[in-house]
Symmetry: C2
Subunit: 411 residues, 2 copies
């Protein structure tokens, strides 16, 4: 009888693993908490009104509709045992398990900050942030108050993209829309504990990114830590001392922590690193288990003494590798091939690092846009929508600027 492969998580890693097992003599069950695969790298576009949720998310079962050996279940996995997983509604036995549940934001022991400084990992995160950012402008127009401050904590790719997009929106998109206030007067602070933005990039590109942010009107504060976040305010410590900031919206982009399913694997003997990631062997397995694979942001993988980064291409490579192993097509250890990375900073600025080739400004932005549209169309098959978006983005319009608030009953 065909082996039963259970995949937990329908992100880049889990979905790729399922797709690469197409036609293999296995029965696959893919379990995800939501019904959709989410193109997380563009979530900040939803948070700033450039794209709609459905533009960056597709039902997983729709993506896999033509693959007959996979069954998709919307459910939450609570427990993992050596040969079965327990979900909210069932116990599902497996021969092989692939855990690919990713990471969530992390407040370093200050979970109470989450209410005032949401992170950006899910569609509700994004639409909530969108309502907060746009709501700040609405409130200012209502009261005639000129003080609008946005605070973005953490200058990794997400923080830089958010800060750039908010500044872009304030300076350009909303320019004509208000009467009592000047949206361009809004302050956008980008706070980073380390000495430079986009620390994963070479220092020279980092400097270029910072200059592009400053040109957009973002106030970049490096070597600055956040010591307290409350409703509408935050305390910062800079080289000069303490600063109190009033902010209408605070975006948390400072820390991620691996999914809590790592702790379930720990009960089976897995070793977790400080961020909660599962240390895997060279075949991406939990040491001591031949049939428990961990891939994507949940896996702690080292290569040449450096951690493999928590990015979509790495997750997809891991998914593909594990599928090959299960099909018996490889016995070699996993190796990560870095194909380069790109970050965007508002409209028509960005940096690109392809190893030997490094560039910044408009070419980097254009490369970023092209690659993202290419991948999105692959998932979505909605060519015209993406072309329309590229055009709006180029002309600085943002058509999904909705404030939708949900009351306590989830409505």
């Amino acid at each position: 009888m065909a082996q039963h492969v259970v995949i937990v998580g329908g992100g880049f890693g889990g979905l790729t693993a399922a797709q690469e097992l197409n036609g293999a003599d296995v029965e696959i069950t893919l379990i995800d908490r939501t019904n959709h695969h989410l193109f997380q790298p563009l979530l900040y576009q939803v948070a700033t009104g450039g794209l709609s949720p459905a533009d960056i998310a597709s039902p997983i079962r729709y993506i896999l509709r033509r693959q007959r050996n996979v069954r998709v279940i919307e459910d939450t996995v609570r427990e993992i045992e050596a040969d079965r997983v327990v979900t909210d509604s069932a116990t599902i036995p497996f021969d092989q398990l692939i855990v690919a549940t990713g990471a969530t934001h992390h407040y370093f022991g200050n979970d109470q900050w989450e209410d005032h400084a949401p992170g950006l990992k899910t569609l509700p995160d994004a639409t909530r942030l969108r309502a907060q950012i746009l709501g700040a402008f609405e409130q200012a127009e209502r009261t005639g108050s000129a003080d609008i401050t946005f605070l973005v904590v953490g200058a990794g790719p997400t923080g830089v993209e958010m800060a750039g997009a908010i500044a872009e929106m304030a300076r350009h998109t909303l320019r004509r829309d208000f009467r009592a206030i000047d949206p361009a007067a809004a302050r956008v602070l980008l706070v980073e504990a380390g000495p430079r933005v986009l620390a994963a990039y070479p220092e020279k590109l980092s400097r270029k990114a910072e200059r592009q942010l400053v040109d957009l009107g973002v106030e970049v504060m490096t070597d600055t830590t956040v010591t307290e976040i409350g409703p509408g305010r935050a305390s910062l410590v800079t080289a000069e001392g303490e600063v109190e900031v009033e902010a209408q919206a605070v975006v948390w982009a400072a820390g991620v922590r691996a999914s809590s399913l790592g702790e379930q694997l720990a009960t089976l003997g897995a070793d977790l690193d400080r961020a909660g990631r599962v240390r895997v062997d060279e075949a991406l397995r939990v040491p001591g288990h031949q049939n428990l694979y961990v891939i994507g942001d949940l896996a702690a993988v080292e290569q040449d003494g450096k951690p493999v980064p928590g990015v979509a291409p790495a997750a997809m490579q891991m998914g593909s590798y594990v599928a090959d192993r299960i099909r018996g097509m490889t016995e070699a250890p996993f190796t990560y091939r870095d194909k380069g990375s790109l970050a965007t900073i508002g409209r028509s600025a960005g940096i690109a690092d392809f190893g030997r080739i490094r560039f910044s400004g408009f070419p980097a932005w254009a490369a970023w846009l092209g690659i993202h549209i290419f991948f999105l169309i692959g998932f979505q098959n909605r060519i015209l929508v993406m072309i329309q978006w590229a055009w709006s983005y180029f002309t600085r319009n943002r058509s999904a600027r909705l404030i939708v608030r949900y009351d306590r009953n989830g409505r």
Copy 2:
């Protein structure tokens, strides 16, 4: 000094009034609870995954960005006095007031039904219904249960469109997506207290609509009333007696009640009809007040002994008329010009009534689609997105099939 015109509500009536006052020597303040104008006639498309919220909603201040004599405020009006309105954050005096706050769903004294049978008037209503409908299929796939029943209460245009779209989705869109269940086996019940569907149309078209619904697989139950709605179930009374129905989702499309601001106008002497609408004079004013106008679904207007229907064209005509009056361009009474009406039933079926010309089936559907795309593009200026939608709709794909659930904190 220029007169100050306050418009409450940015739907079809209020927005048209504001636009028709473009260039007039007045200062306009438009107040709406949300930041967006909503194209309500296509809300059922959001509820069934055919369109995204941002496809049918645009920020009001964006629509009016080039009109210099209007200021838009996102706020909720709580009280109306003879010369001012009181909102959550301010008291705003006016010379002329236009109240255009529309209608909400109405449970005829059974407000507890709302939790189990949501109506369809706002974007959160639509995304919540979308999650319920798609969630019913997810749950069936999870448990392997074959019983899926959707109950639509009320066979006016909204109920007919919802029932048709759900049946269409079950029979065609989702056909390949599931493994444990056959989505086409889902039952769609359309319950109507009166003797026929779409009672506002001529009887012959009504019969055609019913036949088209039955062809789509909808079970049409006329002369049937709902006596109780609980979690996952409803009690119906038919000509044959009582029937208990288990339903995974119940859609309420049976009754509307005018906005509660009508009661505020009642304190100023206005007379309300049974549905809470304000009886206005022939100039659409509250009798006894020269400067209080009521338009759209909140206004009870009779013409030739028949009520003017609560549809977008009527609201727009009223908005335009009141703007003309305020500009001093007319002293004549308001007259409603019925330009015909269209209803759609799933994909490629519908009925059209243009008075002398009546037709049904594919031509009615094509006319409906063309007219709605034309108006949507007017509001949205997103031609490619709409063309893409028309194509997907024609090919029966529905690309916005997201289940997004918000927890108690509104996330």
